[in-house]
Structure formats: structure tokens, C-alpha cells
């Protein structure tokens, strides 16, 4: 089968590799029809996630059709169209019993601090991802959801990660009526976090980034205020001036370890790798939120450590909440929002690229070229 193939930092290609096989009676094999490039894939692409092995296939946002099932699979059948949450989870461990599916304890032998994720290095279990024609889907009766007939595949593929992650970011902010919410990052997750903040009754939503076309998009799409941090001398001071000198009620870090905006953070985090990525957005979130406010983190960082002003978080009495999204938990409510017209995920898709051109697609997404917001890879070409 054709699949994205990682060759080293900044180097990938589409190449043929053996088809995946059923390796466990609970597995299914899915023929991928849509697969996205996620912002967090760029951390792998840039060589920032430890144990990212040459020959791996990335891709944790995908939908497709079931073409084979293991002996123990009872509820999926060949021919079902499924959306597959990016989390691999068993449904029965201590954490899954509590709906913390992203923290499943039964699917990742390589690390205890993170669950299993498709195509996201051996640090998250060593599974191949969905930027391929075929993919192995473990625990097929637990994770995947059959795509309802009234749901567009382009909406479905965004429900595998970007939409639920943005929604959970807002939810972890514990937004109350009229709250001022600042979202750092105008990528797909930040965009959906801004939309979700309104659903939870925010009074004001402000999105911060430095890429003008993305700020223009989110201003229209999420009806929010925007700030280009390149136009601002000090981000925390600016937010305080915008909020009667109190600070925002809720700050959301939807950027993670490749944040721009601080030369020192970029130097130590992205280039010298002395810390686990550049924590600029998190630094700003802690310093921009009001005393007693909430900071929600969905931006992804490496597994070592980061320099952030934790003393300010203590002295301000902040609540910090963070996790990878437990996608399956959010799907029923998010479907309701799509059906009601509150969310229209597919509108953020700007690029549809054949899987064979995956290297160009990563370059465009990584470089924020051609006004790219979200890229969908299509194994059989962009017309399918």
C-alpha cells in the first residue's frame, strides 16, 4: 500500500510498504478515505518527539471503510464507514472506566504518561497512522464510530481530533456566562476552541496569533476579536489593557511546543532543545489570565520539561487543566452541534491533496503557505 513514510526531521515521502494485518482478534483494517495533517504532526515532522522512528507512518485524524475484522469484533462489519478517534483505548482499564480514554493504560507499553495514539511515535505506542491507504485499528469495537448517513465525511474527519480537542479546551476552561476567553493559536484547534467558547456562554472571545491570514479567517469564522502579537509590545500587558487591567477569565494554550513570539523560548526550546519545545503560549496564558482564573492546555509539548512562570500560577491562585482530548466522550454532543448548525467543521479545510504528494502537503502546512488552514490527504486523489 501507499503510505506516508518518515525519513528524518523535515524529510518524508510517499512510499509503498506492506499492507497492515490483523494482529489481535479485536483489530480491524480500515481503508482510509480521508486523513488530515494535524498541527501536532508537525512536532513529529520537525523531529521534536522522542522515539519517532524512520519508516513510521503518521496520521491520527482519519476516516475510512472497514475492509477486514478480527475474530473478536462483534459490532463493526466489513463495509462500515467509520470515523476513528485519534486515541487508541481499551474501554475497560481504570482510566477508561472513568471516561479518560486518552489516558488508557492498556495500549502503550513504551510510556506510562501517555496513552495510545495512531501514527504518533513509539512514545505513544508505536502504531502506524492513517496517512496511508490502509491502517490497523485496534480495539475496533471500542474506538471507531460508524459515520451517520447525514454526516459529511469532511466533517467526520475533523471530529477525530481537531473539533473535540478545541471543544475540550473550552470545557476545561470551565467557562461561565460572560467570561472573557483568550485563545492562543489560530490553527484548527484554536479556531474550534474559540467557537466552543461561545457555545459555553463566553461574553468575549479573543484569539492571538501572528499569522494574518489565519487571524482574518478566525475573525470571520468564529466571530471573535483577534490580536496579532507582532503588533503588540507585551502580550500579557495588552490583554490586561483589554480587560480593565484584571486579565482574562480563561486562557487557552492551543499552540504547544513550536510557539513563536519569544526569542529565548524559541532558542532554548525549538533550536537547542534544552527544554521540551517553546512554551511561549503557555507563559503568556499564565501571565494574561486574571487571579483565580483558569488556564486550559491542549497544545502539545515534549516529555521532558519546560520553563514557565509556575510561581505566578501559584501566587495568582490559578487552576490549570490539561489533557489530550477524550474524543469518543465528546462525539454525541458535537454531532448535535453540527446538526443544529452551531458548528460547520469542514469550512476550515483549505487544501485537498493526493497522498502521493504528502511531502508537499507537509511543507505547505508547516510553512503556512498558500493561506493553508487545514489539509486533507486523499489516498485515491483529490477528486474522490
Amino acid at each position: 500500500m501507499l503510505a506516508m513514510n518518515y525519513r528524518g526531521p523535515y524529510r518524508i515521502r510517499a512510499a509503498y510498504k506492506p499492507d497492515p494485518e490483523i494482529e489481535h482478534p479485536g483489530d480491524a483494517i480500515v481503508r482510509v478515505t480521508r486523513s488530515c495533517i494535524c498541527g501536532s504532526d508537525l512536532h513529529l515532522y520537525h523531529g521534536m518527539v522522542p522515539d519517532t522512528r524512520v519508516g513510521s507512518t503518521f496520521g491520527h485524524e482519519f476516516v475510512g471503510e472497514v475492509v477486514e475484522i478480527g475474530d473478536a469484533v462483534q459490532h463493526l462489519k466489513v463495509g462500515d464507514r467509520v470515523l476513528v478517534p485519534f486515541n487508541i483505548f481499551c474501554g475497560s482499564c481504570y482510566f477508561c472506566e472513568r471516561e479518560l480514554y486518552s489516558n488508557c493504560h492498556n495500549v502503550n507499553p513504551e510510556a506510562s504518561a501517555v496513552g495510545g495514539i495512531y501514527g504518533y511515535s513509539h512514545t505513544t505506542g508505536g502504531y502506524d497512522g492513517g496517512q496511508a491507504e490502509l491502517v490497523r485499528v485496534p480495539m475496533a469495537d471500542v474506538g471507531p464510530m460508524v459515520i451517520p448517513d447525514d454526516l459529511d465525511e469532511d466533517d467526520a474527519v475533523l471530529l477525530t481530533d481537531a473539533v473535540p480537542t478545541g471543544y475540550q479546551a473550552a470545557e476545561m476552561g470551565d467557562i461561565r456566562a460572560g467570561d472573557t476567553v483568550v485563545v492562543f493559536g489560530a490553527g484548527p484547534v484554536g479556531i474550534f476552541a474559540a467557537k466552543s467558547a461561545w457555545l459555553m456562554g463566553a461574553g468575549r472571545v479573543i484569539v492571538v496569533d501572528h499569522v494574518d491570514y489565519r487571524l482574518d479567517f478566525v475573525r470571520r469564522y468564529a466571530q471573535c476579536e483577534v490580536v496579532n502579537f507582532k503588533d503588540v509590545q507585551d502580550m500579557a500587558l495588552h490583554i490586561k489593557k483589554m480587560t480593565d487591567w484584571l486579565g482574562a477569565d480563561v486562557c487557552i494554550d492551543a499552540v504547544g511546543c513550536e510557539a513563536a513570539g519569544s526569542a529565548m523560548q524559541s532558542l532554548t526550546g525549538r533550536y537547542a532543545m534544552i527544554q521540551a519545545g517553546s512554551a511561549t503560549a503557555l507563559h503568556w496564558a499564565i501571565n494574561s489570565v486574571r487571579k483565580g482564573g483558569n488556564v486550559s492546555i491542549v497544545g502539545v509539548y515534549g516529555p521532558t520539561f519546560n520553563a514557565v512562570p509556575i510561581s505566578n500560577a501559584l501566587n495568582k491562585g490559578l487552576t490549570l487543566r490539561m489533557n489530550q482530548a477524550s474524543v469518543k466522550r465528546h462525539l454525541p454532543r458535537l454531532l448535535e452541534h453540527i446538526r443544529a448548525g452551531h458548528l460547520n467543521p469542514k469550512e476550515i479545510i483549505t487544501h485537498r491533496v493526493p497522498l502521493a504528494d504528502v511531502a508537499d502537503a507537509y511543507q505547505i502546512f508547516s510553512g503556512k503557505l498558500d493561506n493553508c488552514i487545514k489539509t486533507v490527504l486523499i489516498p485515491s486523489g483529490p477528486s474522490s
Binding site: 513509539h122 502504531y127 471500542v142 461561565r176 452541534h337 452551531h342 502537503a361
Partner: protein
Amino acid sequence: MPNESLPSTLRRDDIPGWGSDLDRANRPAVPMERMPARLDHPPHPPAQQHSHAEVLVSPERPGITPIYGTTAPPRGLSGVLRRTAYKQTENDIRHWLLLLLADRVDAVEGIGEDLRHGHIPNVFSEMGLPAAWKHNPRGVIRKAAIGAAVVGVGYWLLKRRR
């Protein structure tokens, strides 16, 4: 909530679904830990997966998990580094630094593997440079100039030392 806190041109009614999840009962992750899990079907503990692939296991676990990935098993010098890394706990910074080193060694081994199979990797294509050139030729020229300058300065410093 006073409407004044909205942008001046925007009214709450203009925002599709505003406040529909204001009630915490509508928020799927409230409370944070919720039992029993609302899955489509009652889950059963997974049976143990069996495989011949070498799978490294964190010392912070009692053993291999019931389900695991088998892609890209450790190989070569990078594999030696990875096996050494997995003797350290996740709590030990050496674990992660060794894995990052192994990743870089693996990238070099990957080029060797390509050449052994008679494949000369097209590095420019693998880096997506055709797309970069199409959409941002100035950026490509700037990066090439910076790269050339760094190499030039390095060469000059080396020559000067001799």
C-alpha cells in the same frame, strides 16, 4: 451577561448556538471523571496481543500492555541506543535524550538503508521544496542564503584555525 462585552458590531443572537452548553449538564466532560463510561457496548478487558516484533517496554510498567504497535522495531546502532534508553525510567532525563539521539542516528541509518536498496533519496522532494518554491520562492532563497552563510562562516573559521 452585558452585551457590551461583545464586540461592538456583534450581538449574542448572531452567534450560532451561543450558550447552548452553558449548563454544565450539557458538557460531556463534566464531571471530569465519570463512571460508568458511556460506551456504545459494554467493554471487555482485551486479550493479550502476541507478536514476534521486538517491543521496548517502559520500566515504569509491570510488563507489556495487552495491545501495542509493532511498526518500525529497533534496528542497528539506533536500536542499541533505544534499548539503552528503555533501561532508564521515563522520570530520568537520560531516557528521552538517548531517544532523541537514537532518532538522529536512525535518520542517517535510513539513508544508508535507501542506498543499500539502490534508492537514492531525493532530499529536495522529501523536504517539499517544490511546493515551497511554488508558494514562497523568496523564503527558499532566504533559507538557502542563510544556510550558505553558515557553511561559509564555518569553513572560514576552520581554515583560519589551521
